[in-house]
């Protein structure tokens, strides 16, 4: 019994990381209806960027987080304003094609630059340190990721509900032309949205790099988890995405407990179940 509770707890903590993966995807889709097929590859790119920064500057991986996040924000803003803004319109295909192109470019550039060797970011003792709370063992690092994910979800929700920029995001998402009539620079606002989305991806990438190994080609796997978390949680709310990630994490952890080969597919199974039973997701916000 205790083992199952432990498994569930590990699943929740893993879900925190998946929620972080999914948050950027949820934001970009929510504001701009833009599905970024390169989302997972950007996470991996961030991990490699962190590797570069840590190697060059000799800093602690956590210190690389703000550097990578800021660089990712700038990249996201730049890509949105130079390329992605032009793909937005009534047709859903152009953004998919362009971001698919990004995916291929990123994977191959990373392959050329870093080879296919498995890499990871080293945290030292903290990677495996844990604390026992009653019968449950909680790793410090997974707990840190979970708390960061929670804080980021709360911050995003507050940004969207209570700030001028958040209202601008939502207005531009509802009716782009009417938003411009209000004085909202739609291209700039979309740039900011993508910048924030990629900054979140940057943070997620550093955490991923510490937690698991990474190679240039693992991006699509994380796109899939992010996508599943968003769909399970339902569109339109960041807390929905957060809980979607947690549910996915729990599903994978329980599946893994039954048999290590069943971990990932248990997550897919739950995702399909939600799609069949409640396609709008578990906590959707109606538009």
């Amino acid at each position: 019994m205790v083992e199952w509770i432990n498994t569930a707890v590990q699943g929740v903590l893993l879900g925190g990381l998946y929620a972080l993966f999914a948050m950027g995807l949820s934001l970009a889709y929510g504001v701009m209806r833009l599905v970024n097929l390169a989302h997972g590859d950007f996470i991996v790119l961030a991990a490699y960027a962190a590797l570069g920064v840590i190697t060059l500057l000799g800093i602690h991986p956590f210190a690389a987080i703000p550097i990578v996040a800021v660089a990712a924000f700038v990249l996201g803003y730049g890509l949105q304003r130079s390329v992605l803004n032009r793909t937005l319109g009534r047709d859903i295909l152009p953004p998919l094609l362009v971001t698919f192109g990004f995916s291929i470019v990123i994977q191959n550039v990373l392959l050329e630059a870093f080879s296919a060797d498995n890499r990871s970011l080293k945290l030292g003792a903290l990677e495996t340190a844990s604390v026992a709370i009653g019968p449950v063992t909680i790793g410090w690092f997974p707990l840190i990721i979970f708390c960061a994910s929670l804080a980021i979800t709360a911050a995003l929700t507050a940004l969207f509900s209570h700030t001028r920029l958040g209202r601008a995001f939502r207005a531009a998402s509802d009716d782009r032309a009417a938003a411009t009539l209000m004085g909202i620079d739609d291209r700039h606002v979309y740039g900011l949205a993508m910048g924030i989305a990629l900054a979140l991806v940057g943070i997620a990438g550093v955490f991923l790099g510490i937690r698991s190994g990474f190679t240039p080609s693992v991006g699509p796997e994380y796109l899939l988890y992010a996508f599943e978390a968003v769909v399970i949680g339902g569109l339109g709310s960041f807390w929905g995405t957060f809980f979607g990630g947690v549910i996915l994490g729990i599903a994978q952890a329980i599946g893994f407990r039954f048999d290590p080969g069943w971990g990932i597919i248990a997550g897919h199974f739950v995702f399909l179940l939600v799609l069949i039973v409640k396609p709008s997701g578990l906590f959707p916000r109606t538009r």
């Binding site: 209202r167 509802d174 916000r285």
Partner: protein, 233 residues
Amino acid sequence: MTALLSTHRLSSFYGDFQALFGVDFEVHEGETVAIIGSNGAGKSTLLRTIAGLLRVPRDAVQFKREAIGGAEPYAIAAKGIALVPEGRRLFTSLSVEENLLVGAHTRRTGAWNLDRVYDLFPRLKERRANAATALSGGEQQMTAIGRALMSNPALLMCDEMSLGLAPLVIIDIYRCLREVLKEGMAAIIVEQDINTAVAAASRVYCLQHGRVSLSGRAGELTRERIAAAYFGL
């Protein structure tokens, strides 16, 4: 006296389709001008062009002595032109209050703020937390007007506010508008209903097939002249 807003030989296109043919039009400070005309005459096109939603040469539209033709809509809004769009176009995922707050995005200063809008439209204050979609037609129109006022514009443009509203509600809306305009804001009112438009304005333009077919002071235009210009007889 130079006009607050003027258009010069303004021609507007939707792709290859020409909707306006060399329209010369002006509004002076503090003035209310009405634009009337039948469906497809180009009334909304004129407002949308002024607001920046359609590309035209720079000098085709002048506002406060500045050429604003083809400028981005958000830049034009920042300069002090606010549009109450045809069909309201409220933001559906925002509440009434949030719609009003978005109207203040330009951060222009002036007499209008949230409290004053609620004083003008008490019904909106009752419904401030409701989704904008959960309002009656009249309340939605009030929200759209309030949203435009929140940007403290120098020129308020109202596009077919009476569409879909009951006659009593229309009277109420225009009474509120009269109160607002007493404070000196210039306004352009587009209406299909000739009586409402002529009663609200000091000068009237009539558009027909994208051209100005008649213009003059509201009091001086006879019913016959208006009807002839409206229908192109």
